[in-house]
Point group: C2
């Protein structure tokens, strides 16, 4: 698959195992490596002999490391190890490592070559294409970032075997989102396939590719997220607020599923869809949220509303969110927080999560 | 003047005085301001009543502030003062303030609107267009940066009146470079005009515009500096080494003039031009370097060569520099440092600076 971008076109290539993906990176004799240190432990055999010690930086994949302040020392480590404008940075890990690697690759010498080996389902099915990085600074979350895609994405669904089930489900949340955005038959086909997923997460490879095909259409048309690409935020305005109000106690993709259910519920209040559609979607999605639906049911509603008011996508006078008229019919709307959002949230959280 | 860019087209607009330029900024009711604190003192009357205290950040325009580490608190100050993705940052100052403002505007919310009021001759005649920012990190100089132009440049040559003469001459260095790149008659016309410049620096407005017109051609053709725009580095490989070896004791544009003389001298050794051309240019340029030519004559040659080896534009096996076949005929060449550059530098510095 080739993705067009304002910076440069880039490829997504698939590999059977991690070792093959690592071997396929360009410029092996002089690339620098940025690698998730936990992943290295889980896949020690695949990495053995493939990471040049003098050109490798290991990092901890946590929210705290994904900050402007914490990235400074990583820059210095890479520069001290000789990374230059004509270099190549191979980034191996999930979303956090990708964010850090993308940010560094964008601003080092105004943009160097980089290649991405995404190793979580979220990264493989969603974030690995689309150019974005998001970085925290101080107490401001994801306020800093860039648009700069890798030069190649080296995809290897076999790495999913080492992931905890919650992290698989988190990726599934975004995969569900892509199919809800596309249409009813695609959504139902996915939900049937997902029923047999447990125990063999690599069987999801087909849906990784279908997700990327869908996302490719959105990002090639609107790379800088000024129009149609906004629809990919379906479920995210509410999902982010749930993550924030639970202090990141809900995995991102699962929060997005809860957010999509919320958006469908709010769409009823906005006379855009009906309760039957909501019930249909709810029956299908709720099993993918357990036990986080119960966690959300206990959350302080004021915390959720406060988080929405703080969301960087919202302006002073309203909440921007993606609502729905049914499968494949999403629309961006501005919704009044006091009159619509707050009462809908209360009803949804109290009544619809059990 | 409208400049085309991959990010967005932007305008360069001229104003008679600083107050008019400040008044012309967009979104006065909600813009944030990033302002050189020394400039504010020098132009207190023009700024009076124009900077909203709750949305203004003052900075010190020094190399130390132009670092990744020092920019963190500036980000937090601006975010704490409410700067958001739909905001507008008005940046008022010279090259250092522009670098900081451009970097912040690029990576805040993946790119916000910003407007630039350049206040030094270097910034007005050269850096205000072309999209680049350059930021230091640790001991690595200018290794971090972005390509992201302002949305408008508000130009006001009247601000030049408060500049020290050395800073005027520093800007003149880049203006000379543009005319040397263009042709003999343009160069001679400029040098005649410059002879009557002293005491009325704003008379240089005509040459600011001609410099920007020339630069516009280069950057619109090659914004990301991969080809023809490289020629704008004429004098810079040697100039940077001189700045570094004198611990920034030579103002940038004056180091560039010395660098252009060096490049012309090296071009003789490369059989690209002759001594008569060098003597002609030397006679015209040397007066614009005093007393820094004398300073350079005392410098340790090894320091200069070491700085060239460290230059981020040079790769492991040679020095990339722009040489010349005469007025308007510059070419990028790779030159062997031990066999050509070092002996040429020695001869140039010892023999040609008096």
């Amino acid at each position: 698959m080739i993705i067009q971008s304002k910076s440069h076109p880039y490829s997504v290539e698939s590999f059977d195992d991690l070792a093959s993906a690592l071997d396929a990176s360009s410029l092996p004799e002089r690339s620098h490596w940025l690698v998730d240190q936990v992943l290295l432990q889980h896949h020690a055999a695949a990495f053995r002999g493939r990471l040049p010690e003098l050109r490798t930086v290991l990092i901890e994949a946590t929210e705290e490391r994904k900050s402007y302040e914490a990235i400074g020392p990583v820059f210095l480590d890479l520069l001290g190890k000789g990374l230059k404008r004509d270099g190549n940075l191979v980034v191996v890990g999930g979303g956090v490592v990708q964010d850090i690697g993308c940010f560094i690759a964008t601003v080092l010498a105004r943009g160097i070559g980089w290649e991405l080996v995404p190793t979580t389902l979220l990264a493989q099915a969603d974030s690995c294409i689309g150019s974005k990085s998001s970085i925290n600074i101080g107490s401001f979350k994801n306020q800093i970032g860039t648009f700069y895609p890798p030069h190649r994405v080296l995809l290897c669904p076999a790495t999913l075997r080492s992931l905890p089930w919650d992290e698989i489900r988190s990726g599934v949340g975004e995969i569900i989102k892509f199919q809800l955005l596309t249409g009813e038959s695609e959504f139902r086909e996915l939900m049937r396939d997902l029923a047999s997923l447990s125990g063999q997460p690599q069987a999801i490879a087909k849906w990784i590719h279908r997700s990327l095909e869908i996302k490719k259409g959105y990002i090639e048309e609107d790379e800088f997220d000024r129009g149609r690409r906004n629809l990919l935020n379906y479920g995210h305005t509410f999902g982010h607020a749930y993550e924030s109000a639970t202090h990141y106690g809900i995995p991102h993709g699962i929060a997005v599923v809860l957010g999509m259910l919320t958006a469908t519920y709010v769409s009823i209040q906005m006379s855009m869809t009906d309760h039957a559609h909501f019930d249909d979607v709810r029956t299908q999605l709720l099993p993918w949220c357990e036990p986080y639906g119960d966690l959300l049911a206990k959350v302080d509603l004021d915390e959720v509303v406060l988080a929405m008011r703080r969301d960087k996508k919202n302006t002073v006078d309203g909440v921007n969110c993606i609502l729905t008229r049914g499968f494949g019919k999403m629309e961006k709307r501005r919704v009044d927080i006091d009159r619509v959002v707050a009462p809908s949230l209360q009803a949804f959280i109290k009544r619809e999560l059990h």
